[in-house]
């Protein structure tokens, strides 16, 4: 049955008497034009010395001057290469396969290069690559003007040869004195780098992950002998039980959404069942079929009970909601057997061992312990030992690579103190960050797009990294420097080439470089050690106070790309808030503490400021009331609050690493109090509402979906009806307009599967990069002037009913509470919305200058040069996808983001216009890409293949939620999806006939 859920985006919408929501529904533009600001102030008007006559004189003069000046066109130069490289044809993009491994994100990617400038990152699908928002945005970090531009000693620029000589001598002295030379690096998953470090002789190499997975590594080591992480292929899973593991986020290096989504699309009536136990509302929980809210401490309990139930066969009949949920999950796991998997993000080796033991017990096919995952290798104990040794003066030299411990270490004060006692401290860093400023030598390293490299993300699965641009600055790779210091004449490029041969890989080096990957067969067998898991369950000391769950956001991750405006402006998929981190708190707790969130007249969200105390760390933060946050727990994102080497606008949020003691993402005994003042969020959740029109999200259950006796058109995917001549008819049959024949040539459609969309946001960044979408900044976002052509709406809903309460064993009190207050544990749906490219577009008919019109290929065109900025189109658009350029965002010091500096401009796509002030813009369905594809086929004199048609978003989507193509090609994937029984259009009753089609979300609760 079609669900009778009520969907909402902001808690404010649940308030029936909210005047703001009402206003926002009525008005397209939230704010009135502020004429009063300059005309209303009578005093200042009268004080002004400019008379009306003078004013007219100025106007006359400027008009005349401007007219005269415009008669003479500027002389433009065309400067060709002196010697054109063979592989470059100006105007034609080259693609190179490479890989990102920045210590936090790992992926096989393709880089689109125009005239020697990388301009876009795409997933290398042939090498199983998938890109998240940060990987997509990493190309802009290459053009960060605040990067470290050359080697420095104590802040003064030196040359590389000086640095080599000085450091080389010091290293020799230190080694001669018998002091330890220590390396502190992030995980780079590169065996060649580790070998190079080892070639220096007796050195200590400590790997440090800013966001730790050490507990899981420890557990694996205990169980299987070596230090690694298992791989997981969620596409094989029928039952997934997650306990505090945000595996659609950054859990254990991420990259799981691809497999996960495959199991989520109902094929042949089957899809996976996903139960998530968690404290914060995460992407993973938002996608789960059953989401159980428990505190961080209860996550330990849940895992212990799950272990008991599945492995030991002990099931307790305790009548607590957790126990009920755990027992249900255990039953599902047992039933699914080897097709089930349990994953946990609890940073406790014992709890991690439970998960491994359960998976081992059920012989889970999802978990692979042979082809292990190398993307997290940090060892917390060794890091702590290193800091202690540094303080004790035992370390002679500390060489840091691609790591920012001064910012990320919870005990960074100890680390800085220890640095003072080290004879030689060197930091290899791309950014001019906190650590680079604290060490004696700061050596500039190239961005990964300027580097060579060889990475082993999974055992036996190697990726090659190759430069796609000449180094922008005077940089040198860490590996090259170490090779030099070790006395080797070899360059790192030669080194990895030799390693390639030594590894005995199949195929040639050139082929491997072209493909970006190569594999080496893994034959070893892994046997689980028998070890004692009967240590019993030890609950963490969580008495009193709030439990803080630290997490990483989709946008900033561990914070190394914090100077990237695209990522700062990416709305968080859950909170839809940009440019900030904040304390997430449940409604109940908020009321208890007197914390408030309220929307002000312009739609902007304000919130109380709170002072969070944990141990001796006190930080003042804004608080955001988060539906789905477990009562008694609070959430806070890491990665914000960086101050060094950052543009002023990017210095957002507060550093949460201070709370990250023992590298544990769960912290207990936090207290908070409301302090004076309020915080202004830049939250987009109330913006661009669809005027309260319904039928936006359609959801059904797997059982209903599988019930073949039901006609979807009249049950779970109803076609809206309208009244025609006093008779109810299907809205799709009624039309105000004559149909245009689009059967000849191409007719583009985009299908978006709400089941596969995890809300990860990589499409949003891909759209930014492809279409030169401007960053507008926090202030403008707050005024609803965001420029995102593609937004991912997040809807909450709840259908707590008496039946469901009984079924789930929800207590009477809680049942009524949830029925009354649907915002406590809402289910979540993500819906990417871009221009729907309506065949009968309401925007087109109201444009007085015909600036927006329809193409026969289904795209709704927008001619910027014709637009005069009346904004009628945006008013008439039922989907609210049009964006108005209130300002010039390029070459404007007021918007000091990437389009305002020469370096940042290098990322612009030369095939797409940079829009100017006063014009409307919107999604073009990447017409530049479809045109290029068609032209390529024409040049080669052949029809276009289905998979060739792509948009930036569909290409970036690693879950396959977005499928783009030509519906006139009946064999195409999208043509079939358009006819799927799950297919529906947004606001079908309006009769706009969109070319974007959505697939009904099916849940398997």
């Amino acid at each position: 049955m079609a669900s009778n859920k009520k969907y909402w985006k902001s808690v404010e919408e649940l308030n029936e008497n909210s005047s703001i929501v009402d206003t926002l529904r009525q008005n397209e533009f939230v704010e009135e034009i502020p004429t009063d600001e300059f005309l209303g102030n009578k005093e200042s008007l009268e004080e002004s010395s400019t008379t009306r006559r003078d004013f007219l004189k100025y106007v006359g003069f400027t008009t005349a001057a401007a007219t005269l000046a415009s008669c003479e066109g500027p002389v433009r130069k065309a400067i060709p290469y002196v010697v054109k490289p063979n592989e470059i044809i100006p105007g034609v993009a080259d693609y190179y396969a490479t890989a990102i491994a920045d210590g936090f994100d790992f992926a096989n990617i393709l880089v689109k290069v125009r005239e020697g400038r990388p301009i876009k990152i795409e997933p290398n699908k042939e090498a199983n690559g998938s890109t998240n928002a940060r990987v997509q945005a990493s190309v802009l970090s290459l053009y960060d003007g605040l990067r470290l531009k050359g080697p420095k000693q104590n802040g003064n620029a030196i040359s590389w040869s000086e640095a080599d000589a000085q450091i080389g001598k010091k290293l020799k002295d230190i080694q001669a004195a018998g002091k330890t030379v220590a390396f502190l690096t992030s995980t780079d998953a590169s065996p060649s780098t580790q070998n190079i470090i080892a070639s220096l002789g007796d050195v200590r190499h400590v790997i440090y992950d800013a966001v730790s997975e050490s507990a899981a590594l420890d557990a694996y080591q205990t169980m299987y002998g070596n230090r690694a992480l298992p791989s997981y292929d969620f596409s094989k899973a029928k039952v997934i039980v997650g306990v505090g593991s945000d595996f659609l986020g950054d859990w254990q290096g991420g990259n799981f959404e691809n497999g996960y989504a495959k199991g989520r699309i109902p094929t042949k009536g089957k899809m996976s069942h996903h139960v998530q136990f968690e404290s914060n509302m995460t992407l993973t929980g938002a996608n789960a079929d059953v989401r159980v809210m428990i505190t961080p401490a209860e996550q330990h309990l849940a895992m212990a009970k799950l272990y008991q139930a599945v492995v030991q066969g002990i099931s307790t009949r305790e009548a607590s909601p957790i126990n009920t949920a755990v027992q249900k999950a255990a039953a599902k796991i047992k039933k699914a057997g080897k097709n089930a998997v349990v994953v946990t993000g609890v940073q406790d080796a014992n709890i991690q061992a439970y998960a491994l033991a359960i998976n081992n017990h059920i012989q889970s096919e999802v978990m692979d312990v042979v082809v292990t995952n190398n993307t997290r290798q940090g060892n917390d104990a060794e890091v702590m030992q290193l800091v202690a040794d540094m303080k004790a003066g035992k370390i002679g030299a500390l060489i840091i690579n691609n790591s920012n411990p001064v910012y990320t270490l919870p005990n960074s004060a100890d680390f800085v103190e220890g640095l003072g006692k080290v004879d030689l401290s060197v930091s290899f860093s791309m950014s001019d960050n906190e650590t680079a400023n604290a060490t004696e030598y700061a050596l500039a390293t190239p961005h990964y797009l300027e580097s060579w490299g060889m990475i082993e993300m999974k055992k036996g699965q190697y990726s090659l990294m190759q430069p796609t641009i000449q180094p922008l600055f005077d940089t040198r790779q860490f590996q090259d420097a170490i090779l030099k210091w070790s006395g080797s004449e070899q360059s790192y490029y030669d080194y990895i080439k030799t390693s390639f041969t030594d590894l005995g890989a199949n195929g040639s080096w050139n082929q491997a470089l072209h493909d970006g990957t190569f594999t080496v067969d893994v034959t070893e067998e892994v046997v689980a050690n028998e070890f004692d898991l009967s240590f019993g369950y030890k609950a963490p000391k969580a008495d009193g106070g709030l439990q803080l769950q630290l997490y990483t956001k989709t946008g900033l991750g561990d914070g190394q790309q914090a100077n990237n405006p695209w990522l700062q402006e990416l709305p968080d998929p859950i909170t839809r808030t940009t440019w900030d981190n904040y304390l997430t708190i449940s409604q109940a707790d908020a009321e208890g503490f007197g914390i408030e969130n309220w929307n002000v007249a312009d739609g902007g969200l304000n919130g109380s400021l709170v002072e969070l105390t944990l141990g001796d760390v006190v930080v003042t933060l804004p608080a955001l009331i988060q539906p789905g946050q477990t009562v008694g727990s609070i959430g806070l994102a890491l990665g914000y609050g960086r101050k060094v080497g950052m543009k002023e606008e990017m210095k957002t949020g507060k550093n949460a690493y201070h709370f990250y003691s023992d590298f544990n993402n769960s912290q207990y005994g936090a207290s908070l109090k409301v302090v004076a003042g309020e915080h202004k969020f830049a939250c987009t959740q109330l913006q661009n509402t669809m005027m309260g029109r319904g039928d936006i999200i359609k959801e059904t259950t797997l059982d209903t979906f599988n019930d073949h006796s039901l006609d979807p058109k009249h049950t779970w995917n109803p076609v809206p009806v309208v009244s025609l001549k006093h008779q109810e008819v299907e809205a799709t049959t009624v039309d105000l307009w004559d149909e245009f024949d689009r059967s000849v040539g191409h007719h583009f459609n985009l299908s978006i599967d709400l089941n596969a969309c995890t809300g990860c946001g990589s499409c949003v960044i891909a759209c930014h990069a492809e279409n030169n979408v401007a960053v507008v900044g926090k202030e403008e976002i707050r005024k609803s002037r965001d420029m995102h052509w593609l937004r991912i709406d997040r809807y909450y809903s709840s259908d707590m009913t008496a039946e469901r309460a009984e079924e789930e064993g929800v207590g009477v009190k809680q049942k009524f509470a949830e029925m009354e207050d649907p915002s406590a544990n809402p289910t979540v749906a993500f819906q990417p919305i871009m221009c729907q490219h309506c065949n009968h577009a309401p925007c087109e008919t109201v444009c007085p200058v015909a600036a927006t019109s329809h193409g026969r290929q289904g795209q709704n065109h927008m001619a910027y040069n014709r637009c005069v900025g009346t904004r009628y189109c945006a008013n008439n658009c039922p989907y609210k996808v049009r964006r108005f350029n209130w300002f010039d965002y390029a070459n404007n010091a007021e918007f000091d983001f990437n389009m305002n500096d020469d370096l940042g401009k290098m990322v612009l796509n030369p095939d797409v216009t940079v829009r100017t002030r006063g014009v409307m813009e919107k999604c073009s369905m990447c017409i530049q890409m479809t045109q290029a594809t068609i032209l390529k086929a024409k040049k080669e004199g052949r029809p276009v293949k289905d998979e060739e048609f792509q948009t930036a978003c569909s290409n970036a989507c690693s879950t396959g939620a977005m499928i783009f193509g030509d519906i006139n090609d009946k064999e195409s994937q999208v043509a079939k999806l358009k006819e799927d029984k799950r297919a529906y259009h947004l606001l079908e009753h309006v009769g706009t006939q969109p070319n974007v089609v959505y697939q009904v979300k099916v849940t398997n609760a």
Partner: protein, 417 residues
């Protein structure tokens, strides 16, 4: 020498008469040895030899004075084996490190022709035949003519009217022209309606021309900036018939036609460091052109005397002035028009091969683009991409041919995104 010449004459006669029997068209080329020799020289020898100076190989002007024809013939056909048997040849090979290609395929007659060409002749100054390019901007004067005609007719009508009136009034024909003109003037002065008409006429006219003037603001038709190198398309594309796409290589692959990089110039100018005397025009002397070629060498760092690149030279790109400037919001792709549509470059760029200095030939307005899209029919028969579309059109509408506009070539989004 004479006898040799005699021999040659006989053989030549024999050969040409045989050639005449078989190929009638050959008679033209057989008119003189030197003419055919020049052709062959340019084809096979000019890459390494010049008549008047050393290049990769020694200068060949007057070579027949130094070596005998037999010796030369043997050398040309297979210098490597000739070196083994001839001491002179061995020594001659030391001229350059590069060894000369064997031209075994050249017949004796052809070798003779080439050698004939190398005999120095007195240079006769050829008057600059290449006229300076005249950029005639044809304006559409039809309307002006029409307006003048109307004015004349109007004046005549007024005059006639006046005459008729006087005839009717006085019954007498006016005596003198002066009188009648005076009369016309008087009548004109008195006729308020005529004044009114004239004012309206004047206003309409000025509005028309004013609008026309305003419309051409921002149009750069005929824009002919001074370039850093006085590169002559007339010499390259016109006289030497170099294909446009030899230099503008990206035109068939890319959205830009591509200004050739200096290394493309060097493909030929490695050997051509100066122009022929005959290339000089009234406007530009030989020295001028040679100086322009030197600018390429300055850019890439080429030593024209040593015939090699200068080591460690800091290369300087040539900053050409861009002539064809489309606004940023308009997307144009050369390969679409060159490769897919198969258009001649001249269709938009005009007779470039006649231009000493290139100017903007077409207005590059949207109207101009659309005009062409309206008229141009798409050839759907050759290209595999159009096969399906062609079938669909034929089945559905019975249409065999469509214009670019009908295929959607006039939609905003095809050029503006």
């Amino acid at each position: 020498m004479k006898s040799v010449k005699q021999q040659r004459l006989i053989s030549r006669l024999t050969l040409s008469s045989i050639a005449f029997l078989f190929i009638f068209t050959l008679n033209l080329s057989a008119q003189g040895d030197a003419a055919n020799g020049k052709k062959l020289f340019n084809m096979h020898c000019a890459a390494c030899h010049k008549l008047d100076k050393d290049l990769v190989g020694p200068k060949l002007g007057g070579i027949t004075d130094i070596r005998t024809t037999e010796w030369l013939s043997a050398w040309i056909k297979d210098n490597a084996s000739f070196q083994e048997i001839d001491a002179d040849a061995k020594e001659a090979a030391n001229f350059s490190a590069a060894s000369m290609t064997a031209f075994a395929f050249l017949s004796d007659q052809e070798i003779d022709d080439i050698l004939e060409y190398t005999i120095p002749v007195e240079v006769v100054e050829v008057a600059g035949s290449a006229a300076a390019p005249v950029v005639v901007q044809e304006q559409d004067n039809t309307l002006l003519y029409m307006l003048t005609a109307i004015v004349i007719v109007l004046v005549l009508m007024v005059f006639n009217l006046y005459r008729t009136m006087t005839v009717i009034k006085d019954g007498v024909e006016s005596k003198s022209i002066a009188d009648s003109l005076n009369g016309v003037w008087k009548a004109f002065k008195g006729n308020k309606f005529l004044h009114f008409l004239l004012v309206i006429f004047f206003l309409l006219n000025s509005a028309y021309f004013g609008f026309g003037w305003l419309m051409q603001v921002g149009l750069d038709e005929g824009y002919q900036p001074i370039q850093p190198i006085a590169f002559s398309h007339a010499i390259h594309a016109g006289d030497n018939k170099i294909d446009c796409e030899y230099c503008h290589t990206s035109a068939k692959h890319s959205k830009t036609s591509g200004i050739p990089s200096a290394n493309v110039c060097m493909n030929c100018h490695m050997n051509i460091s100066e122009v022929a005397e005959s290339t000089a025009t009234e406007e530009h002397s030989k020295e001028f052109y040679d100086g322009e070629i030197q600018k390429i060498y300055d850019a890439v760092g080429w030593d024209k005397d040593k015939l090699q690149y200068i080591e460690g030279y800091e290369k300087q790109p040539i900053e050409w002035v861009r002539i064809h400037n489309l606004p940023d919001f308009a997307y144009y792709n050369h390969s679409q028009h060159v490769t897919v549509a198969g258009l001649e470059c001249q269709k938009c760029h005009g007779p470039v091969e006649e231009m000493e200095e290139v100017y903007q030939y077409s207005p590059l307005t949207m109207e101009w683009c659309i005009e062409c899209h309206r008229e141009t029919e798409i050839d759907m028969t050759e290209n595999g991409y159009y096969k399906k579309i062609h079938e669909q059109l034929a089945n559905k509408y019975g249409v065999e041919k469509v214009t670019e506009a009908q295929m959607g070539g006039m939609e905003c989004g095809k050029c503006h995104y």
